[in-house]
Symmetry: C2
Amino acid sequence: MSVKTNEFAALKNVKVNDGFWSKYESIAKDVIIPYQWDALNDNVPDTEPSHAIKNFRIAAGELEGEFGGFLFQDSDVAKWIEAVAYRLVIAPDEELEKRVDEVIDLIGRAQREDGYLDTYYLLKEKGKEFTNFLDCHEMYVAGHMAEGAVAYYEATGKRKLLDIICRFIDLIMEKVGNEEGKLRGYPGHPELELALVRVYKATGEKKYLDFCEYLVNERGKEPNFFQQELEARDFRNAWGGKDKKADTRYCQAHKPIREQKEAVGHSVRAGYLYTGAAHLAAESDDRGLFEACEVLWDNATKKQMYVTGGFGSTVYGEAFTFDYQLPNDLSYTETCAAISFAFFAQKMLMCDVDSKYSDVLERILYNGSISGMALDGKHFFYTNPLEVWDEQNKKAPAYRHNKVKRPGWFGCACCPPNLARMITSLGNYIYSSDENTVYTHLYIGSDAKVQVGENTVIIKQKSLMPWEGKSEFTLSGGEYTFAVRVPGWADKFTLKLNGEEVKAEIKKGYAYITRSWTDGDVLSAEMPLEVKLIEANPQVRADAGKAAICRGPVVYCLESKDNGDRLSSIRIAEDARFRCEKDEELFPGSISIFAKALKKKAWDTGDLYRAFTASYEEIEIKAIPYAFWGNRDDNREMAVWVRV
Amino acid sequence: MSVKTNEFAALKNVKVNDGFWSKYESIAKDVIIPYQWDALNDNVPDTEPSHAIKNFRIAAGELEGEFGGFLFQDSDVAKWIEAVAYRLVIAPDEELEKRVDEVIDLIGRAQREDGYLDTYYLLKEKGKEFTNFLDCHEMYVAGHMAEGAVAYYEATGKRKLLDIICRFIDLIMEKVGNEEGKLRGYPGHPELELALVRVYKATGEKKYLDFCEYLVNERGKEPNFFQQELEARDFRNAWGGKDKKADTRYCQAHKPIREQKEAVGHSVRAGYLYTGAAHLAAESDDRGLFEACEVLWDNATKKQMYVTGGFGSTVYGEAFTFDYQLPNDLSYTETCAAISFAFFAQKMLMCDVDSKYSDVLERILYNGSISGMALDGKHFFYTNPLEVWDEQNKKAPAYRHNKVKRPGWFGCACCPPNLARMITSLGNYIYSSDENTVYTHLYIGSDAKVQVGENTVIIKQKSLMPWEGKSEFTLSGGEYTFAVRVPGWADKFTLKLNGEEVKAEIKKGYAYITRSWTDGDVLSAEMPLEVKLIEANPQVRADAGKAAICRGPVVYCLESKDNGDRLSSIRIAEDARFRCEKDEELFPGSISIFAKALKKKAWDTGDLYRAFTASYEEIEIKAIPYAFWGNRDDNREMAVWVRV
């Protein structure tokens, strides 16, 4: 059997039409994308200028000035183009498309004659191209530009940007590779790998897949390229200092990926590398590589994932630490890291339809990714802690990366455009298919056309998720298998065909129904959403004696705004009774959860320590979906894990 | 009424003879002091060389070479001399005294003609003296040398070192002060202040007290001296970089001490500054300054002190953070910080006999200070966390300052000699007196002569503390008041005179008995030691739902060595019954505490999260005194706070 077993339906064939996600889609469409355009053009008041468009103008010789922003600033433009491309699929917009064409023209004018295209090197470090793959991000930037190019090509059929970026990749391939005389390098920040598979799929040119294979397989071999490169630079790093040793673990180059057993280092780099590797495994039919990816998936999601679908336990290197070390208030859990693992999940699902991937995908989508965005679409978290104490963030330096309110656009603006592209391309994550079967991975209302062998299956999914556990599929006729995910959180799962319960075959968390379908058949999936107290494996020291309130895929949290300060003083009973109530203050349709709990009384003396006394008051707690936290003023604390 | 109300009995008049402390005294005497001598002379294998003695030899022109060690390396020699001085009072030793005399001669030869004496500047930064009080430690070094000089003078009557250091201080006073033409500076690291009061007391020369007064009062005035000094250095710091702004909060110079309401910044600097200020307040009869010290004492001990008597919640700047922020596994709680607050307590007691000072003093002595030392006297903790998970210390960078086993001597060797001098001078903390009263602040077995007006009261204290709550005082005759502390931890406190219960007047935590004493009268103080679960103020988020097991002044902890890994999985009942057992594995006379508890069972699946289930096993936990933790191999976890 091939490694790849199924293919996701293209975005253009899946229109999201969902009570929950359409709202996010409009925020992305109507707020983030225009706002980001302003940001890229330095037109957002009271915000650090991005310099991103300006850099291209300077590189094109149309403006005087110096390079500004981070060394990977170009990628913000690329991610904006990518998000716009998806958005144009969802809702065509001539004016917007014209604007992108102009940007692409500008990028073309900025490109050097030999194809080189990274304004950091074009402007600031002329002549030093290809000398610092470890710290600098030229391949990363190329990767993002390639993703934007492929998306724009798929959305519009226009291949100018694709041609531009292929010229740059061709140049990179001239310089880098395992042939005699080339640099045996690879990117410090993975991203080009996953982009190369997309370029291969868009162009059909196998050399891009081969180069991806080289990059993935070369990484981490001995003698270590990054160490050699560092020595060749006389140990100089990109920030004016010197390093004795290349931190290869930080960028997952400490050993070949096939020998890696644990997710380590910078979490976003990890997520991008694994995504590229998994996609490569699928497209090059490399079972060994797929199995290596599975080992890394299992480690990351079964030992190092926050209950919100967040990844990265430490601000040092924005990184993984080690198994079961998941501090809630120190967590880094970058928005981009969560998103990168959604990408990874999708690629793994192409090879193995197992709900262990799609359950995590769903967990990321409803929780640790969109928590990065305020409901106004204009404020963003870079990091998504599971517990905050505002004063601590401000006054205790170890916590200062965490905030209690989302700031506006920020200088290192990787997360907002990443959210924009994830949300606008959500249609790409719902359905996949092979010769016989349609797989439904997510319960998201949508209209889709999915190719199953010769048959184009038309699916209309109506979903009440995540507020009610019911999705209804109206299907077109034909002989095919329809498979839907049985979520890991569901205690009961019932399928009804035209109102009659049907039995399905269950494999790896998916329910399969094979039959001859008639146009208009209605299959409904019902999975009651119960409020559950979830506990962490006792190896997770940080969550001992605590539980997270969850309802279906939604993880809840307490805010001091609703529950008073000292959330740590609150204890809920292990058998607490929960009441769910529609509460649309923050989000249409949202449900808040209420329960009786005990809260330790404040002391009426100034003592710091005294003999233990049981002095509690009974309170009613209110929990809101974690994704919506931090959207109100005067909120000083938040906690996902509550004492039981 | 004067600010100073009583005076501590001099060390030479108090001989410690105690089941607990005499053991520490012999470790200090027989192990630390000789070991430290080897360290100062770079004779400890497998340890970074100290360079401390060598620096003086080079400065004296008797050796070729360069300055080595930290810029405050001289202070290690000073602290060794101070510890040896106390040790010579306890047990004279001609050979050792001769060695100190030789070192003092060497220091004399290293001193510059004008009196200058700091080998860092003499050797490494010639000509830059007095240009960087913020980062560099010349006044700090002078302070330690002065403390050593006074101690050695008091121990031996020899004043050579005192003369040497007075010449240096005189030079400093020529350059620094608020007279026209002088630098209006003060030390970045306080220490000279407290030393100056001691020099004043030893020499009787008021100019030293006046200079102390200047240093304390000038500190933090606007315009800020450190900022001006930084600008005058073109913003260069001592480490080759530049700083835009002087971190005045870090060194308690953000405002005048009389306006400071919270303990902030580097905890050891804070403790030394407050000690100097409190002693100054006492000797200069400055009530306003005493009251400022009381505000800082109350803030530090009632809002920012760990239950172990540790201070400093963050590794960033080894510093205080803010009220009630007391993370247990990230704590810094430097050994020196605990010791500095023992100094501070003693000075406050001279002005106000209140058990709020002596209770903390006792807490520090039995817990957060001596925890810094292994029971072999050769291994030391710099930081004293209240919770450790070995793997976390090693693999999660935020925790790497904490260790599960004490290393040997270290480069920045401030803590070991600080412990040595504290332990060898313990006799100085037990008794104080005024015209009418003897105050007993600590229950430590000792033979003392205390001056009460005209009467020299002879006291023989026999104590079973901290293992049994009983001390017996055999007293000499005369008309005087004998006061003993009623510990805050004691629920019952009984005084018996020659076997008969007596009533005492209780004031501010001290029991006063005024009578005409007959030679040989025996007063016994009985205060049953009960195991107690202590809880923290609910404002302390880190300790919510947890309790510390304490018995009298001793704070206990669990080690995984005794209780298995995952200490966080252990929960004791709020009304648990405790069993105490003599357990001399670690320390003679020590008592371990046992109790039934529940421990969450390990999961038999590889899940990370699942629905909450109550699955506990009953275990018997064993708790040992916190001070003795980390003395055994194969111990991976320790916790003071246990879930209840």
